[in-house]
């Protein structure tokens, strides 16, 4: 599999792919519905969308734009063109009940109860992401949302967010583990031979139109300029230059609004710890899989340079801890596979000493580039221990605006959410899903999913049973974050 290696063209990529814009503490995500398609296209055509070029310091305000499948259709793209995107994107996050089952969007997470997204009428068309300093954001919004904007779009939801000091509302550092993108196309993609875990990730696993970890291109709409002359504005497709690539330099963007019930979290742990603060803190760390400052629970050179190979049974960091489920840091082969003979044996499934190998898939095919922000007021521990759980709802609720980017929604976000976070059978566990995100719905056969286990050496795992739900999904959708030339094409598309 020899694919041409190409450096990423930052001038055509939206800034969010490269930067989290963490120098801009305020953000508002606007959910828009197209009212007048031609006015919408005109506004989008002149919108000052920020690229990933970094010359001359960081911008003081950033605008990023993404579209749902419904939005692309509403703006006038042909159905055949939109159908060239992945099946997950065109179906939408709440597009069918199977997807909801897989994502854990059942029970209190059911899309029927979401604030936005979900039901047919609720799928937003356009996601505008604004980032600025606190002083600037309001006036900038007023500038952007002029009369032609009002003619073009119906504005239904604004989701303000912030950096939260790098911590999510339970009080832990977030966003530490990120893939390191191979922007220059320097290292050959791993293909089917990369034994050990690494942060390095082929650009094509996040950006469409580039080679991914398999050394292949992900499906996306390739347009024939002879049939669609407007497509001439798009870059050519790397592997089929006779076509223009609507996906190139773009990425899928997953947005989920996750309400966090901080009082429920700390009060549950306080009960489990019998009111002992040190013990309570320890349990919280075990559930998250890190200390509050982000330090891992096992020996590590730095906060992101480690694997769990030295802790196969989860006695330092529980197997079911949130960060271990979200990124198990596994290679293509079980640890200790070296030399052609051993590799052959392992390939045939033989020579596994513990019989516990191969329970977790190879991590590099399931990475997420996270760009989330927190929302709502922070609450300190003392208050969290006093307030009634479930009280913070609506305007005074708090949580995470989870955002991740990737080139394959099914293989990345949905896989991680389904097979790793939500699964009661991850790493041969039972009776538990993700300690933070789990929806606690019972399994078939009346089996539980509301426990959490802390493995111990030479003793049965410690178990906390009857965990309430700490995080509730309030809305979500799959978007396409186009490259800037693709944005021009979308803004110029007329049926």
């Amino acid at each position: 599999m020899t694919a041409p290696r190409q450096p990423v063209d930052f001038t055509d990529v939206q800034g969010l792919v490269r930067f989290g814009h963490s120098h801009l503490p305020s953000s508002v995500f606007h959910l828009l519905w197209v009212k007048d398609a031609s006015a919408a296209r005109a506004w989008l055509g002149s919108a000052p969308v920020t690229s990933a070029v970094s010359e001359g310091g960081r911008p003081e305000q950033v605008l990023q734009v993404a579209f749902s499948a419904a939005g692309l259709l509403a703006l006038g793209l042909e159905e055949g063109t939109v159908g060239g995107f992945s099946a997950a994107f065109t179906a939408g996050m709440a597009g069918d009940s199977n997807r909801s089952r897989r994502l854990g969007d059942t029970g209190p997470n059911d899309p029927g109860q979401w604030r936005w997204g979900g039901v047919e009428a609720g799928v937003p068309h356009v996601l505008l992401m604004l980032y600025a300093t606190q002083a600037r954001i309001v006036s900038w919004q007023e500038d952007l949302f002029n009369a032609s904007f009002a003619q073009a779009f119906e504005h239904r939801f604004a989701l303000p967010g912030g950096l939260g000091d790098g911590r999510e509302h339970f009080g832990f550092m977030d966003g530490i583990s990120q893939p390191a993108l191979d922007w220059q196309g320097e290292s050959p993609p791993g293909g089917h031979w990369r034994d050990a875990y690494t942060h390095r990730l082929a650009a094509g696993d996040i950006l469409l139109g580039y080679v991914n970890e398999y050394g292949l291109y992900t499906d996306r709409p390739l347009l024939d300029p002879a049939r669609q002359p407007a497509a001439a504005v798009l870059p050519p497709a790397a592997e089929q230059p006779q076509f223009r690539d609507l996906g190139r330099n773009g990425s899928y963007l997953v947005l989920r609004q996750l309400r966090q019930d901080v009082p429920a979290f700390w009060q549950c742990l306080d009960r489990a710890a019998g009111g002992d603060p040190a013990r309570r803190e320890q349990l919280a760390q075990a559930m998250v899989g890190r200390k509050r400052d982000g330090e891992p629970l096992l020996q590590a050179a730095d906060r992101n340079a480690f694997t769990y190979d030295s802790d196969p049974a989860g006695q330092c960091c529980p197997l079911g801890a949130h960060v271990r489920r979200a990124n198990p840091r596994t290679g293509d082969f079980p640890p200790g596979t070296s030399g052609p003979f051993k590799r052959l044996l392992r390939t045939l499934g033989l020579g596994s000493p513990s019989g516990r190998d191969d329970l977790i898939a190879s991590t590099r095919f399931h990475r997420l580039l996270r760009r989330g922000r927190v929302y709502g007021d922070t609450i300190d521990l003392a208050r969290a221990l006093l307030e009634t759980p479930g009280d913070a709802d609506g305007d005074d609720e708090r949580g995470l605006l989870f955002v991740c980017l990737g080139a394959d929604i099914a293989r990345q976000f949905e896989f991680v959410q389904n097979a790793w976070l939500n699964s009661a059978k991850f790493a041969a566990l039972r009776d538990e899903s993700d300690p933070l995100l789990g929806n606690r719905q019972p399994l078939p056969g009346a089996l539980h999913s509301d426990q959490f286990s802390l493995p111990r050496a030479g003793a049965p795992a410690q178990r906390i049973a009857g965990l309430p739900q700490f995080v509730q999904v309030r809305g979500g959708e799959y978007f396409f974050l186009p490259g800037l030339r693709a944005l021009k094409f979308i803004a110029g598309s007329e049926r």
Partner: protein
Amino acid sequence: MTPQATVMIAAPVSSGRESQLVALLASMNRHPGEADPANSSVPFGQFCQLHMARFSVLHARTNDDIRAHGVRPRPWQPTLVFIADIDGDPDLFLAELCVRAGHGLRQIFSHCRDFDASCDDLLAWLHQRKQRPAASYVNWRGRTVQQIHEEAALVHFVRQQLGAVAAPGQVPPEPRALHRQLRRAMLAELADLRLRLSPPAPTPAGWWLGNLCHLLLIPLLGLLLLPVLVLLAPFYLWRLRHLERTDPENTRPPAPSHLQALLAVEDFEVTNHFNVFGQVKPGLLRLATIKAGLLLLDYSARHIYHRGYLTRIRTIHFARWVLMDGNTRVYFASNYDGSADTYMDDFINKVAWGLNLVFSNGVGYPRTRFLLKGGAEYEAKYKHTLRRNQLPSACWYKAYPGLTAVDLDNHHRIRRGLENPAPSERELREWVSLL
């Protein structure tokens, strides 16, 4: 040891009666595609030797794909298949099936072309329509449904006993003391007949002898044929490479409505069910290759992979490969833990070579190199091809809801640990970690 067996019945559906049949099968379900174990037509739950079962209607959805080879597609009548994975003698099971579910089965099979309403020997009718798999896989040979239920009950009991020990802040007892305590409690329950752990039944002598002959005769046959094979190898490789370069691919994504029909019956259980029905590529070389591949697969599943894993895959409960319609079509049916995407990723990343060996002889499969490389390694193409040739089950049953193959293995290890009166330190440590 009670060996497992697989039964498959196939009968073409009468023209125009398929929608009625599908509605009837759906009426046996509690979720889309998932059977109610107590449904009145075929009360699957009453059969204590039945692991998993399904009814599916096989359509040749991709029949026209073979035109790319310059071959006219053979006509195919939609065909109802019934599959059951069972403990012990398949003939006995079929007889029991006719006794307990005779009325329901007659109702179901009356939608088939050659089923006469006055047919008074249902059992003989079924026997005539049995299909032998070319290869089959059982996750753990000898693990019976009864054993699974008994061990699940034991583990449930053990975990109740453990409740207090596992609570946070409790100082855990020393492992040997814990083992002694739990073993004593288990023995008391067994004595009071509140728990049961049946000893394995003796292995049927005929089966044992047959298996031994199979183990020895196939390599012997291979050895005898070796000189011929060596002589043929260069020609075979030359011809194979030519076909691999020229065989047309069909890796288009499935139609959204077809994908939707597949998704509608998936992910209600922790285990899912897979039906793939495609055509074998034309020509003797492809037929010989798929036959040899399936023989190798069947041999290794029978003699190597019957202890919890198929190469690196630990999530398949039962699987079978069946050549149909005069060896022109291949049907693959499996039961696996997790969702379909997870299953496909597992295959791509761990055993692409194994898939290629068999499925690259199917029409439309992504291009391979030397039979083992390429193919399923083309991730997206492979997923599309598989989904396009996949069919939904109409009615699927599993005897142990919520439990995965790994769960069943863990339960058995916990039992073995408790049955051992004096485990070594190492055994003890491993056993304790399973609790």
